[in-house]
């Protein structure tokens, strides 16, 4: 499974006074089982790019290949593509609508023609992979759950379609720290268990640093930077010029590295940073 994007260009309101080039010559390849973070300032083209990955938008020029199949030549079966590439929008819990959790999760697979025992099994698996107890929750109304649980039910609805790619747009926005941690461990579990490609869009640089093996930075409709979290977050100045930031711990470590001679740390997480400080103290002794 892979996604390949070649020289993608998209223009909003072409030929009109409000004409805006949202994507300009974007190329990107994402391989099997990868977890890729996409960051960018509001209006940088992130969401426009995501919507091309399952055929919700048609590019002005360029191609998108999903699993080797071109989805932009007008011949592709888009229903099939949208099943393969699950897109979880921001605040997906606003899209819950059924009476019970099980019915809500069943909506997608039922529309694909899955029925009976197989449907029940699909629902149960999807609910369990997002970290909820199927027996306890299947008959509850989704509207009675907490914010974090609602969001997980909404994601289970997409998982139940058995996608090979899961695109998550700001999956942790608006959650409290506990629910936030639970969503992150759920995403890791989905990535590990099913070898699904995860595309993770977030403004939370901490999450990106902790979760992703590769980071793509969008700016003014282009891919402006790409690399491991270490490589990308070493470019603090450049990110700042694009209205972005580094994880809070990077700010702290940069300041310490500047002020304390002989100390250097490129840690991206609190645990790595704490280890670097401990080692420095040991060395100094």
């Amino acid at each position: 499974m892979s996604i390949e994007i070649n020289n993608l260009r998209y223009v909003y309101n072409p030929g009109m006074p409000g004409e805006t080039v949202a994507l300009n010559d974007v190329s990107l390849t994402i391989g099997d089982g990868e977890m890729v973070g996409i960051i960018g300032h509001t209006g940088s083209g992130k969401s426009t790019l995501l919507q091309h990955m399952n055929g919700l938008l048609k590019p002005a020029s360029g191609d998108v290949f999903v699993d080797g199949q071109c989805i932009t030549d007008g011949k592709a079966n888009l229903v099939d593509i949208r099943r393969k590439v699950g897109l979880v929008f921001q605040y997906p819990e606003y899209q819950l609508f059924e009476e019970t959790v099980a019915k809500d999760v069943a909506f997608g697979p039922r529309n694909l023609g899955i029925e009976g025992e197989e449907l029940d099994k699909t629902i149960q698996e999807a609910i369990e992979i997002v970290g909820l107890n199927y027996n306890e929750i299947q008959n509850s109304s989704p509207f009675e759950l907490s914010g974090g649980m609602k969001r997980r039910v909404a994601i289970a609805g997409v998982i139940a379609m058995r996608p090979s790619v899961l695109i998550l747009d700001e999956p942790t926005a608006g959650l409290d720290p506990t629910a936030h941690r639970e969503i992150l461990s759920m995403i890791r579990r989905i990535n590990d268990n099913r070898e699904i490609i995860i595309i993770f869009v977030s403004h939370n640089m901490d999450d990106i640093a902790n979760m992703c093996s590769r980071v793509v930075v969008m700016d003014k409709g282009k891919v402006s930077l790409e690399g491991t979290p270490q490589e990308v977050f070493a470019q603090g100045r450049l990110l700042e010029s694009m209205g972005l930031d580094v994880p809070p711990v990077v700010h702290i470590m940069n300041k310490i590295s500047d002020e304390v001679s002989g100390f250097y740390s490129s840690a991206l997480t609190i645990d790595e940073a704490a280890k670097d400080i401990r080692e420095y103290i040991k060395r100094k002794k």
Partner: protein
Amino acid sequence: MRYNKLVMNKEKNKTYISVHNLIVDFTQINEEGIEEIKTRAIDDVSFDIEKGSFISIIGMNGSGKSTLAKCLNGLIEPNSGEVIVDGMNTSDEEHLWDIRSRVGMVFQNPDNQIVSSLVEDDVAFGPENLGVDPAEIRQRVDHALKQVDMYDCKDKGAHMLSGGQKQRIAIAGALAMRPDCIIFDEPTAMLDPKGKLQVMDIIKELNREGITTILITHYMNEAEQADRIIILKKGKVYSDGKPKDLFSNRRLIEGAGLEMPPLIDLRDKAGLPESATTLEDIICLLK
């Protein structure tokens, strides 16, 4: 000028909002058609908010933060207990409009708060509904837009703005009502990093100008900037104090399902002493 400052200082210690034994229940109709209590969202909460202060309310989802906020300007009437705003009880219907024009509110989602297609019309919506004189409305709208640094966008279509800009317009809309107090309910949750910083800067500036500020947030770095933090847990006040005191107590913060600010978390995990509370302290220790 000097006189004004004195008055402000004198007023600063005055209680502006006073919450007494507040209880809010969410009810449902059971199968026999009888109303029963489903959840007690706010469970016997009392506290005072001083005029001109900057208070942050934090807690897990479902801890009662937003319900409490809606009680403070009478959007929710409590089942028992009372909220007194500047001497007026929110359960007293004759004061309700007065209270709501003094205590403004800004919500999380910028898209749900914009009512007009033009920026300046949107900001004018509140004072127009109060029946304010048109010349005065013009003045208020211009001033409010300048306060949030959006005056240059006054003729723009609201749909053309970014989330952060829309949120600033929502704040301007609250300011045009000339409130004494603004409640911000997770105002930065949907914004990108730059938008978050800009909105926080505006919130702090408005507080410096004398507006009593109540900020509900999930971000500990934002809560830290308040003078005082109230932590809610399961509808009760779990803790109430200065940010520095609360965030030095890991057991307390984690017990409320919250997170330590990154610096304090790092200090503890690196085995540095608790006396170090700022980045400068940590740098001194390492030098």
